[in-house]
Symmetry: C2
Subunit: 881 residues, 2 copies
Amino acid sequence: MKYVYLFGEGDKDMKNTLGGKGAGLHEMTRISIPVPPGFTITTQTCVYYFKHNDTLPHGLKKEVDNVLRKIERKMGKMFGDTDNPLLLSVRSGSRVSMPGMMDTILNLGLNENTVKGLIKNTGDERFAYDCFRRLIDMYGNVVMGISHGEFEEALAELKRKKGVKLDSELSSETLQELTSIYKGIIKKYGKTFPVDPHKQLWGAIEAVFSSWNNERAKEYRKLNNIPEEWGTACNVQTMVFGNMGKNSMTGVAFTRNPATGENIFYGEWLPNAQGEDVVAGIRTPHPLSLAEKEKSDSSLASLEKMFPRAYRELTGVREKLEKHFKDLQDIEFTMEKGKLFILQTRSGKRTPLAAVKIAVDMVDEGLLDKKEVIMRMNPGYITQLLHPMIDPKAKVEIIAKGLPASPGAATGKVVFTPADAVKMKEKDEPCILVRVETSPEDIKGIASAEGVLTQRGGMTSHAAVVARGMGKPCVVGCESISVDYDNKLFKKDNITVKEGEVITLDGASGRVIEGDVPEIKASFTPEFRKLLGFTDEFRRMGVMANADTPNDAKTAREFGCEGIGLCRTEHMFFGGDRIMAVREMILAETREERCKALAKILPMQKDDFKEIFRVMDGLPVVIRTLDPPLHEFLPKELESIKELARKMKVESSVIKEKVRILSEVNPMLGNRGCRLGIAYPEITEMQVRAIFEAASEVIKEGKKVIPEVMIPLVGSEIELVNQRKVVEKVAKEVAKEQGIEIDYMIGTMIELPRAALTADEIAKSADFFSFGTNDLTQTTFGFSRDDFFKILESYIEKGIMNYDPFQTLDIRGVGQLIKMGIEKGRKSNPKLEVGICGEHGGDPKSIDFCERAGLDYVSCSPYRVPIARLAAAQAKIRYRK
Amino acid sequence: MKYVYLFGEGDKDMKNTLGGKGAGLHEMTRISIPVPPGFTITTQTCVYYFKHNDTLPHGLKKEVDNVLRKIERKMGKMFGDTDNPLLLSVRSGSRVSMPGMMDTILNLGLNENTVKGLIKNTGDERFAYDCFRRLIDMYGNVVMGISHGEFEEALAELKRKKGVKLDSELSSETLQELTSIYKGIIKKYGKTFPVDPHKQLWGAIEAVFSSWNNERAKEYRKLNNIPEEWGTACNVQTMVFGNMGKNSMTGVAFTRNPATGENIFYGEWLPNAQGEDVVAGIRTPHPLSLAEKEKSDSSLASLEKMFPRAYRELTGVREKLEKHFKDLQDIEFTMEKGKLFILQTRSGKRTPLAAVKIAVDMVDEGLLDKKEVIMRMNPGYITQLLHPMIDPKAKVEIIAKGLPASPGAATGKVVFTPADAVKMKEKDEPCILVRVETSPEDIKGIASAEGVLTQRGGMTSHAAVVARGMGKPCVVGCESISVDYDNKLFKKDNITVKEGEVITLDGASGRVIEGDVPEIKASFTPEFRKLLGFTDEFRRMGVMANADTPNDAKTAREFGCEGIGLCRTEHMFFGGDRIMAVREMILAETREERCKALAKILPMQKDDFKEIFRVMDGLPVVIRTLDPPLHEFLPKELESIKELARKMKVESSVIKEKVRILSEVNPMLGNRGCRLGIAYPEITEMQVRAIFEAASEVIKEGKKVIPEVMIPLVGSEIELVNQRKVVEKVAKEVAKEQGIEIDYMIGTMIELPRAALTADEIAKSADFFSFGTNDLTQTTFGFSRDDFFKILESYIEKGIMNYDPFQTLDIRGVGQLIKMGIEKGRKSNPKLEVGICGEHGGDPKSIDFCERAGLDYVSCSPYRVPIARLAAAQAKIRYRK
């Protein structure tokens, strides 16, 4: 096995072996982009390391020595040479980017002797000792596990002693003194900073591998579903310095605007700085181009103006990379004494808006074909694209303005620590996390908050990158506010916002707004519409929507649904006068009383159906009969019970008793679904009458109505037969009364294991199946969806689960039942139509399964219709053969 | 198709066609027992009747005419002849006996003309008119649907008018007058009593068929799982009269004592009476033999004494029937003017005690072999046999004594109407139903009561038969009490027992006792022990017990279990000091606190295990780790919370908050089972330590201990792997500490659909599976066991279900998962042991399935161990090939 690849030996397709960063460096080297020479130790080596009790494989040293010699020859420098020393960086790099999660060590190769060579070589003693003291600090911290704070304290004390305020005011002598102090700190811990550069190198390599399993990396992997067993590669690269004086600089850039997708070069840089300075967001960076400077109203000089030659060279690199990778690239560059180096290129994180625009533009530009665009499009982007926006017409009180780091609007109570954000999440209270700046330790807090606001940092700062990845609205670099952790508040001029007060972030404009604010739905951009048009050319499965109201139906139709796959009638039972009639129905003691109350509900349900049928003109509408347990409609609190009693003119004890009788130990497994319709056929009768009267009347208006009646929670054929009879009877009656024969279907939810197990019997009485995977997941796992979050947390922590089966279908268990249900169902009824209408119908991974399982359609919430269209197309392309 | 069988054309194996009663009559005719000639119209004819909109098949009339002619020839009488008329009875008779549920009409063939022939033939005008008026009453009631009460009122009025008290005081003229009055009643309803005997006959036949679907028959079928589609046969038979003077009598007899099984002839009879008089329990009947008379301390003359010739003839019939049917027979006989007829024979209902004794005796007598006995034994009998008895040493206050109609002890509050019994059952309040006498309408009330007490009626009265069938303790003919329905009380001398007061019935001795009384477990009779010994010679599956306490374990071992298949550890968490320690554990905020509390529980659990291991010396004990949600251990009521807070020295708000946090919407699908052990491995650790320390210490006492650890609610292999590691770690630690290596197994419950679906994966980490069919039924159906009774009632009423899937395994659905689980499990782990430990492990029908599915063992509650042994043997014999 080959453990080591010299840059250029590998290529961009070797991410699994070289990691994402490594693959990029190899590829760039191949296509003659100026990359500082280096080599990659493979991810397999890391896996070996953990499997063999933290020991490196035998042949590794020889391979490293080998490539190191080649690099030395190329650079004309020697690693450890006191005259002309080569310095190295060691960096992690896994298959997918895990920004800031693992460790990096710079300036390796320096010691009391080689630092002399560096001084000689650069003529800058101060710089050389600064490099050296940074190495000792990083090495002590990363390899030896000593807190970075200890070194910082020593630095601060020295500054006090010398009476200076800034690091830059320290003389080279003082920095040299600092290297001794730092080495002393390491001594204190019974360790010694290694003099031998090779010892330094191997210490750093092991530390990078170990950092794969540090706590924050584990946490990040869990949140992002990255497998433990991938391991990280380790990139060893020649050091170049962006802080080697006036003719040096460092920066990051995106080949297109990652926020909007506009085809303009976009980036940030700092003169005379190291790369870390930009990413850490400690200094506010300069804009890349003049255009950008104007746009962002920055007072800082652009690269285009300050270093026009480097800027031109960089735009050349940009073009080359885009043509080569056919994707938005995120690059890091450094100019050392006038010579430009590209340190990294990778697929750039982007907003959903940008993702769509870039993909569609690239089709127009001839860089990609439609199929490529579809396959490359992350369905998650579309979710985010459909984030709500703040209503532009709303009058808002703007507290401050920062950088628009991740779009969407978020409202919540202000909290100041990640731990508080987690607590709020547990209480289901939306919150906004406000920080001076964020660090990798904050990930869980960011995941728990609705949005993030930071006082410091740029668009590529930690907070910005993480929030974009999660699709959370985020505003960064809002320097006009001052965050006061001690008193849990932040101030802007004379405005004070305390913990618990509500603010709204507009991640698209960077606005921080007082209180809650009216929001509007996201609307389609032309590019988005175009992209979805592409998907329809490729997909096989239909995409229906779960919509209960005319409004939902409208939205779904706008988003391109091909019908309503689940219309829940119970939602129509709440609200205004209806709930009173529903309660009368529930409190009825006799069939007669119940029918009287139902007669009051009938016209209201009918009106709802009429409106929905009108909106869905020409498309099928699957209406599910009453599903939830009746006690859900009754009040629980004493006060509400008393009020209801007054309104209904009964003793409140009557209502209390009825609530008691109807209450259940496990309502999810209780008297609901078709069990209600069987116990009280008059409820089904009323609903079916409402459906068919509504359909007849809308047909008379000249519209096309295709109603389908769906019976919930069926566990055996006889239940369906029972309800089917009721539906057919009433449909026949209405047809006679209205003089219209309507074509309709009767089907059932398959949402109990027993329904899937006996699907062959059930299919005999069903025109269609719709898998209710929410309930099916509950019963297959024995997990209550309402209580599950408590278990999921512990299960993810212990590595028992790595995803939420209520979000993404459990293919091994629930999927097995679905396959069984389809197979048995179609066997006994070849004409059976089969769909899915659980949450999973809008989840791309689950949709992929649905394609393989041969479902006819998926049905999902209106806002997920576009995602489903994309995912269905992707799945079809994936399994085309 | 042949619709009609002349008696003797069919035989005893044709019950499906001829019904039970019919098959008996045919068989008796074949073996020359004196049966009044007649014929049977098949059950298929009844099925035809209902399928064709209540019309009889075309060829039927011809067939009936045909056999009727043969009967007329044999009897030398003609149906409808005015000179020497043949009279007929028409009776229902389905495959299994449904006593009193369907209709009967007697004396068919009488009208104004033929009654003259009857007078001439019998010389008894009064008798003839009495027959005639009874026919009109029955016909009006059964065929024409007029209330029997109307006829009774007319009779009462006539008696008042004539100034007499008893029916027998009415003269033949008055009875003749009564026939006119009765016909007038029928006229009032716009109908006419048919003069034509053939018209009478066909009316009666249709009425008998129709009675299959009357309300009480439907109710009885539901309670007894008798399919709707069986239909009833209709037996038409020559009338013989036990009320034709002094030389006539009628009676019923059992070939052995149906209460004790003793091999003595046992029966009751009434001189000069019709059969109905005995069954209805209106007159107290005479004993059959002298021995019986003495035993029952009856003041009435025995048949043996009064009609010695008939008695001898009857004992001959008894012997012939027993040899022929090889079973206890229940016969009806009538002597008409000195000539003995057998009207019916059927397998006699018996007490469980009798069933066992008779079966075992018959093996000794050479009538049956062991296999036949096993196959014939109703496992339900064994349940009843294990009914508790009143402690003979208990001091009891006897209120009264009646006939011991159905054994067992029952305690409950007195109610006087079947409706009240049903209400009490709904409230889960045990009750005793007290009635003057019972009628078929009372079935639901009897089913709801713990026991039944009647003032009137004999051992074969309705109440007695029904209660025996249901296994309910029952005392009948307790004539010393007087029941007062109006004031809802009964009196005996100066004792008054009011509604709601508690009494205890001793169905084995006939005692009615004041209040609640100490009871003892049923013990094995020598015959019972012998029978169970037979079963062990045949069965393949092991029978284990579900036992949580040393006491349960002792009982189970006495009943012949081969180990403990389920020892639930949580039951040990309740009681005394333990619950406090458990609550401390639950309220712990940190792992340390939790461990401290667990350390207090450890010695208590260990002691329990030690005692159980000692009892089960040499047999395996499967111990399940903690299963229920933790909040089950916390108090719910405010007062208890306050008390706990005081004891634990915390604010009650702390406990309230913890209860709130731990509460779940659907606890059955919540944080329980292995989910607890995964979240808090220290709980599993403590339990495993208790198990292995206990095992080591008991082994050191010289006993053999075979512990098996079972992990509950596993849904995926990784959960089991997680808990398996904990078990192995602790077992290893204890082995080291104790210096004893114990052979043990680790297995899992399969109680979630997902566990069955992924059994191939789970089996890789399991030494055994135990199907937890209670939970598996809940999740497969989506039924909460705690709430299910409300649904079941409606489902049985609507014909959606005909059994309780929590009692008897749902083979189609749950069974499919079990088969899948076994198959997949054994495929990946051929050594896998597979058992079942849900309620179903003690249910004979479910055990039959377990045999077919290839399970290694069943585990059930201690009291069901004998039933399981029998059912397992039966299943093995059934599927031997």
